[in-house]
């Protein structure tokens, strides 16, 4: 949006003032780029000195995490990678159908007041802090799972996945709803004119048309679940363990940093290893968000 060039008698002061403000605005404009870059840089620099000392095959595939051992220090994060993936995967198994289903319902099956109310409720659900979710997992769900399900311990994969699902559903719903809203009404009208019911319209027309946006919604949900920290710290059981059942305790990458960073001496190899785990997380979520962004871009191009 460009104004036409204006010639006008203005005081030098106001001209300089305006120029200064424009520079400030430009600076703020690139602030996001600066911050993303410096996050990468700082996390990388704190972790980098350890990189030459690591055997990466062992780090990524070995489950043996003994950063404070006296005799044999081992930095294997394999179990945590599997933990993160399994809890995210299971959470998405719950969250994707429910999230997309709710998005379809909110966008197509209800209108007026109900729609506004539901959107507000979903916003509220998204606002519950992760520490409160973690507390619920630790005190309420732990007890429920222990009492009603055949689980030897209440803090486990299932508990955390349920919490993560509830936490990522609001994102999936709101982005998914946006994607459905972006489908032109003429599509709906054409389907109606052919005698399709709402469900047929959704199933045959809207879902294929909004495919990319819905994919982005799911990916952003995945990103949220991978990056979640406090809730999984409190609800997974925090055990370095490769899960073999739904009710096994696990440990995630994020929780490991949160649990161990506080007491680690700055500059020690353990401290640097935690930053390298952070770097891994940063890269994983970066890729996931990039994919989501590409998917959204695909929508716009249509």
């Amino acid at each position: 949006m460009n104004p036409p060039p204006v010639r006008q008698a203005r005081s030098a002061l106001s001209l300089w003032g305006e120029r200064a403000i424009e520079w400030i605005i430009r600076l703020c404009g690139i602030s996001a780029v600066i911050f993303v870059f410096s996050i990468f840089l700082f996390v990388f620099l704190e972790g980098a000195p350890l990189i030459p000392d690591l055997n990466w095959i062992q780090v990524i595939f070995s489950p043996e995490w003994y950063p404070t051992s006296r005799s044999n220090v081992r930095y294997g994060v394999g179990a945590m990678i599997i933990g993160t993936l399994s809890v995210t995967g299971l959470a998405m198994l719950f969250a994707v159908p429910f999230g997309l289903g709710a998005a379809v319902f909110v966008s197509e099956f209800c209108g007026g007041r109900l729609k506004e109310t539901l959107k507000v409720v979903i916003e509220m659900l998204a606002a519950i802090p992760s520490i409160v979710w973690g507390f619920i997992g630790l005190s309420v769900m732990n007890h429920l799972i222990q009492t009603w399900l055949p689980a030897p311990v209440g803090l486990n994969l299932f508990n955390a996945a349920l919490l993560l699902a509830l936490m990522s559903v609001p994102i999936i719903v709101s982005i998914g709803e946006d994607a459905l809203k972006a489908v032109p009404d003429s599509y709906r009208e054409a389907a109606l004119a052919l005698g399709a019911t709402r469900w047929q319209t959704v199933y045959r027309v809207l879902l294929p048309a909004a495919r990319n946006g819905l994919l982005a919604a799911v990916l952003l949900g995945v990103g949220r679940a991978i990056g979640e920290t406090m809730a999984v710290l409190m609800a997974t059981g925090h055990a370095v363990n490769i899960p073999t059942s739904l009710f096994d305790p696990i440990r995630t990458l994020t929780a490991t940093i949160a649990a161990e960073l506080g007491e680690t001496a700055v500059g020690s190899p353990h401290y640097r290893m935690l930053f390298l785990i952070g770097l891994m997380l940063f890269s994983i979520t970066f890729v996931v968000n990039l994919l989501a962004d590409l998917a959204v871009r695909g929508v716009r191009r249509q």
Binding site: P3, P4, V6, Q8, E18, I21, E22, I24, I25, R26, C28, G29, S31, A32, V33, V36, I39, F42, V43, F98, G101, A102, V104, F105, V106, F109, M124, A127, I128, P129, S130, I131, V132, F135, I136, L138, S139, L166, W199, Q200, V202, L220, G223, I226, G227, E228, T229, I257, L261, G262, F275, G278, L281, F282, T285, F286, V288, N289, L290, A292
Partner: protein
Amino acid sequence: MNPPTFTATPHVLRKLRRERLAALVLSGMVLAMVLPLFAIVAYLVVKGAPLINWAFLVTNPTDGMRAGGIWSALVGTVYLVVIALLVAAPIGVLCAVYLNEYARESWLTRLINLAVVNLAGVPSIVHALFGLGAFVLFAGLGRSILAASLTLAIMTLPVIIASTKEALNAVPLSFREACWNVGASRWQTIWRVVLPNSISGILTGVILQVSRTAGETAPIMFTGAVFFKKVADGALFPYALTDQCMALSMHLYTVTTQVNNAPEALPYAIAVVLLGAVLLVNATAIIVRSYLRSRKKW
């Protein structure tokens, strides 16, 4: 001849049955999301209710955090949120102004947009690592309120940018054109016309971030929040910016995991206060938004 009567063929019947089934299943899915919200809030309130009263809010924790209230944590959270948003809001709004009003479609805007999207996706624990590396150690702020709020500010920045951009975008181009036509410069247009007309949207976006900032734990755990800090009961400004502070979210975490023999209701009460504050702020933002939307005339 009689008008043709419309009889439902088996095909139509099946179609309608499916429609009903779909509506039922989908509404069930919505219920499955909504019910937990109410169940959780209700459960927490019932369990925490015995402890919650005015004195609980304005007195400090005593007896190793087993008794007393949560004042020092409450006020610490207010400090963190206010400072974080005072930093993030101007930067975020100006960044959105740049993207929406100044920048043309170029590789730079694409890069900025990409950065905003990715900044929003950075896990909170990575923000914590960054805060520790950049503010606490590199900038030499130490573990302090300042370091913690700056970390939180960067975390909220992308969302403020996105919501502000949306608000600015909603101002019709014709407003700007009218302004340019009377000879206003670009900044004058933004200052006198664009920002005043989008301030409600911008404010709502910022207020919604209050709740997110207040609830975060991971980013402040290593940058400025402490287990316990003594302040005067009910003091309004107990902390200096270089102090460490307590925060509600952190307090909930420590009481849940470390404080033994605390009354059973205590963590529930803290959770209720945190949740209540967050939901109250959110509800305010939503009410303000719908009120201002209804007043909008274009």
